[in-house]
Assembly symmetry: C2
Homo-oligomer: 351 residues x 2
């Protein structure tokens, strides 16, 4: 960088991105953003942006997935990767309480990729389009000098008054999560372990049969559109919502910051699958740490007004893990033994 | 690719992507796309997709730019690169006769990039947002194991009846182009030449002063939103339109194919800047070939009904290069000597 005639690509001062971290960098860049158009209802700072669209709103979310950072093609089957790339964007639309309708898919391919490999990737993309009822309406296909890059933008629809932002949680609201947590992180550890075993001895057959729940969650997660549809049918609009991509603790921090509130959650209410628990123990990981800090589960974290509790009380896949408090009360986990421990945010670190 | 447990990433059969080319690959993948939602008015196959939005439509375009394929940081200053990345997407919105309103920007950064470098890139992105009146409403920031990747999605607005598709050209319509052509290609050749000179002898100072038009077009093109606004003021809706990103000949093929028509253009009507012409000659390139096949000028190619000719006749930056014929009449360039030569499409080849 910074050869001829472009000296200014190499400035005198050099601050490492890792000094700021992903969220620090985003905050820093966004300070300078000015919204000029009245149709831009919500810009950066939520799971998706919100744009005026006549009688409704469009919600827009985008993700850029890079080989070697977000996926490892030595264990991620291409159809699963294609499905996951769509699912993680649909999950952001779900997190706004909106219905996904369209996606664009851009891919950059090195010459390592054959047509058959691209077809395998798109097999998963088409399967996800079918599963979520979204249309593939555009994209870009280009060469890459290095690894595979996949960039997807998802566009959804909602009535304006039904959009759930991160900022709407209020004192005494109930904190809910869907499904179970920690599986994707534990699955990743298993896949990495088996990869190392294989690299050390290629004749060794990896034993993955007993880990299908956790590896499946890592390789082919499902966005919780079922929950969004059910909330709609029950007439419940979450007061705040986001998807769990960086880990429960990190997401609770986001909601508390955006809403200006605190939160208390209870260890004995946190949902963990038996296979996730057993595998975490096998790997010498603390299962509760996996639940709190494991990313990529793509479950939904949301808050509801107490008046809506009855409507969801018997739902088999929604768990009531705590409640919203005043901001000054902070963010606490009450352990099984009754001790209140301050929650620390420890999301995914890419840098 | 195709290590454990993921054997299916490496299929038995291997067809090279280069056997199909970019357009062949896109066509192949799109055969399987099914549009399910009535709000998806136009999917793949134009400069941008079109989505229903109450009283108007949204147009959506996306591009993925990869270091080493789309840009070379040894001569592309980062602020210019940021501006260009936005401009090329805005150009796709312009090509639909729509007004850009929002963009999302995703970047993948290797640890080679300092905070100061990212700031320089965003300086250009913000300048473009300002210049085109668009809001930066979202994106993704992540690490890259290799080069820089930039993915931008632009969203614009238009009245439904004012959208110009590639498919609307009809016999006797007049073919128009804005500005002048070939400059970006010639500029790229100059930058590549000076880079080689510099690599051979780093003490050599590159002499770029006399090439500012052509290098400027390559490094920091401007989307022709001025033309879109003027067409609106004059009450002219082009019967078809696209932007010239792959080269005039290639774009004429796209419009003819989508509209089911032929076209005749005239060599003496093709606009070329004096510096482009002179530099092409200096580089031993045929100037007309640069005009026909040079990519990345980001001018607009459009067709108008003859009734609208009077409204545009005196416009200083719109050139009437030919007319639309019956499909059976083919695609021809009439040279200065009066010979009709068949046009060959020769767009950018990334693969």
């Amino acid at each position: 960088m910074g050869l001829l005639p472009c000296k200014n690509n190499m400035s005198e001062k050099r601050t490492e991105i890792s000094d700021l971290g992903e969220f620090g960098l985003i905050d820093h860049l966004n300070e300078k953003v000015i919204i000029k158009n009245s149709s831009s209802l919500k810009g950066i700072g939520d799971d998706a942006a919100v744009i005026e669209a006549g009688d409704h709103v469009k919600v827009v979310s985008t993700d850029l997935l890079m080989e070697g950072v977000h996926f490892d093609l030595s264990y991620a089957p291409l159809p699963h990767l294609g499905f996951k790339a769509v699912a993680v964007n649909v999950s952001d639309i779900a997190a706004m309480n909106a219905i996904p309708k369209q996606i664009t898919v851009s891919i950059a391919l090195s010459n390592r990729f054959s047509l058959e490999a691209v077809e395998a990737l798109y097999e998963g993309i088409y399967a996800a389009c079918d599963h979520y009822g979204v249309d593939l309406i555009g994209g870009d296909t280009t060469a890459s000098r290095s690894g595979l890059a996949i960039s997807i933008t998802a566009i959804g629809e909602a009535k304006k008054e039904q959009v759930s932002y991160r900022s709407g949680a209020k004192e005494n609201d109930i904190l809910c999560v869907t499904g179970d947590l920690g599986a994707a992180l534990v699955g990743l550890q298993i896949l990495e372990r088996e990869k190392q075993v294989f690299l050390a001895n290629p004749d060794m057959k990896p034993d993955l049969e007993k880990y299908t729940v956790v590896t499946g969650r890592q390789l082919r997660p499902d966005a919780r559109m079922d929950i969004v549809h059910e909330l709609g049918e029950l007439g419940v609009v979450p007061t705040s919502m986001m998807d769990i991509s960086d880990g429960l603790a990190s997401e609770i921090f986001h909601i508390c910051k955006a809403s200006g509130v605190g939160a208390t959650i209870y260890e004995d209410k946190l949902p963990i699958d038996k296979q996730t628990f057993d595998t975490a123990v096998e790997l010498n990981l603390d299962p509760i740490t996996c639940v709190l800090n494991g990313g990529e589960d793509y479950e939904l974290l949301f808050t509801i007004d107490q008046k809506d509790f009855k409507k969801l009380e018997k739902h088999p896949d929604i768990h009531f893990i705590g409640h919203i408090t005043k901001e000054a009360e902070g963010k606490y986990l009450v352990t099984k033994s009754g001790t209140a421990v301050q929650i620390k945010a420890q999301g995914w670190k890419h840098f």
